[in-house]
């Protein structure tokens, strides 16, 4: 089955509908016009560029190039995790913990999935590796960013409670136990919700895309199940590492709460 290619002018049709929406929002004084337009323009430019990059990458298919691409994706995701936090850890720890957690979780899960489950030839074949890694990183990034932000924000808010629990002789783990659970929960809730609603409320984007591209639904469904499970594993382990390392960093070796290791929100 041949895929129907989309002509650029047909995309322009979709874009003009965004413009109409923007006009109505503007007339209604609902205030998000600017953000909407900028995001739409960014989508078009970023995706067009990545299309060119992927075409080039698929053509050369060298391991070095794919590794370079993966590194760039990871660093950008690390920056994004950092910028989404109200109160960042000082001294590069915000970037380090976020990036480290994403690297260990999403890269491990992606490589395992490629080698053991899908098994393309070679295992790093970019048609499989890059989209899979992209989806893993995108979701892990959300989980890590949400859980780290929740962790640092709650610790800051509840600093007197934590210190009072320390005074009563609790270990730092007991004293932040509730907060760690909350942070873990807020990192994992999106992927748990997505799994619960998949197929009933929502048809996931990847499966839809694959069906549109001509795959039989039964194959598309299997890939989608694989993706959702691996996303949950990646997000969960990423959030787990971020919460563990982040909370450890907020205490020193004498189990003192060290809020001087958090920056004030800018």
């Amino acid at each position: 089955m041949e895929v129907i290619d989309l002509a650029w002018w047909k995309l322009a049709l979709a874009a003009s509908m965004i413009l109409v929406l923007a006009v109505f929002v503007h007339l209604g004084r609902l205030g998000i016009t600017r953000g909407l337009l900028i995001a739409a323009i960014r989508t078009v430019i970023q995706l067009s560029l990545i299309g060119l990059v992927l075409e080039a990458l698929f053509a050369v298919s060298g391991f070095g190039w794919i590794a370079l691409m993966a590194t760039v994706m990871l660093l950008v995701a690390g920056r994004e995790v950092m910028s989404r936090q109200q109160r960042k850890l000082t001294g590069g720890w915000a970037f380090g913990i976020g990036t480290g957690a994403m690297f260990l979780s999403s890269f491990t899960v992606t490589v395992l999935t490629l080698i053991v489950v899908i098994g393309p030839e070679p295992w790093y074949a970019p048609q499989y590796a890059i989209p899979l890694l992209g989806m893993m990183l995108g979701n892990t990034m959300n989980g890590v960013a949400l859980s780290l932000d929740r962790l640092t924000e709650s610790v800051w808010r509840q600093r007197s409670v934590i210190e009072n629990r320390l005074m009563l002789g609790q270990t730092w783990r007991e004293a932040v136990g509730d907060i760690r659970r909350e942070a873990m929960r807020s990192g994992m809730i999106p992927s748990i919700n997505a799994m619960a609603a998949a197929g009933i409320v929502s048809l996931p984007g990847m499966m839809t895309g694959q069906i549109l591209a001509g795959s039989p639904p039964s194959v598309a469904v299997k890939y989608q199940i694989l993706i959702m499970l691996t996303i949950a594993i990646g997000t969960g382990s990423g959030a787990l590492m971020a919460v563990t390392w982040g909370s450890r960093r907020l205490f020193d070796d004498r189990q003192r709460l060290r809020l001087d290791r958090l920056l004030e929100p800018s």
Partner: protein
């Protein structure tokens, strides 16, 4: 009566504006600490409980602060802050499981206070219960930060009576931050004022 854990000893402790604080408090002695707000009374107590980074050394008997895991040290050298925090639903959740409760009646509580919701406690009740929950953990030394600040006169007297009796019975060294001269007169064997960077005996 049980064996006491020994004296609380500070050697050249420095934290914030304070430096070179050296002080020994033998078991059963109450030492009062006063000074302007911001003079560093609370920070000194926090340093002794090892909640703030500080210089110098602190001992409880033969045990040195830096050689003890921090949470075990704080179980022994118990700091009761001026404002207590309550994180769980009921009062009893903040007490160690299966404790023999001392002092409830003496501080004016019925036994059913343990089942109360934390949200209905007044500031005075919180202050008295915070002392009880600290004492329920059987500390070996006490650091009290204005333990009677939110209490009416009657409760102040009751608390002082019960606390001093418990201190004698359990042979605790006590460092007590206090403001009112009457109270210092009533409870303290020695009294120091924090001024500048050091302690002045009064």
């Amino acid at each position: 009566m049980r064996e006491s854990f020994g004296s609380l000893r500070l050697e050249q402790v420095a934290v914030g504006a304070l430096s070179d604080i050296t002080l020994t408090i033998p078991p059963t002695e109450v030492v009062c600490l006063s000074g302007r707000s911001g003079s560093g009374k609370s920070r000194l107590l926090r340093a002794i409980a090892d909640l703030d980074v500080h210089a110098g050394r602190v001992w409880l008997g033969e045990t040195e602060q830096s050689a003890t895991p921090a949470h075990l040290w704080r179980q022994q050298v118990m700091l009761v802050p001026a404002e207590s925090q309550w994180w769980a639903e009921r009062v009893e959740d903040h007490f160690p499981v299966a404790t023999v409760m001392d002092g409830l009646a003496e501080l004016g509580f019925e036994p059913d206070v343990m089942g109360w919701s934390v949200s209905r406690l007044s500031s005075g009740e919180k202050q008295r219960l915070a002392l009880l929950r600290a004492m329920a953990r059987r500390p070996a030394a006490l650091l009290l930060d204005e333990p009677t600040a939110n209490l009416d006169q009657e409760s102040v007297a009751a608390m002082e009576r019960w606390l001093l009796a418990a201190v004698r019975e359990r042979q605790l060294p006590v460092l007590w931050v206090a403001h009112t001269p009457d109270q210092i007169q009533r409870v303290a064997q020695r009294h120091f004022r924090l001024s500048g960077s050091s302690l002045e005996a009064q």
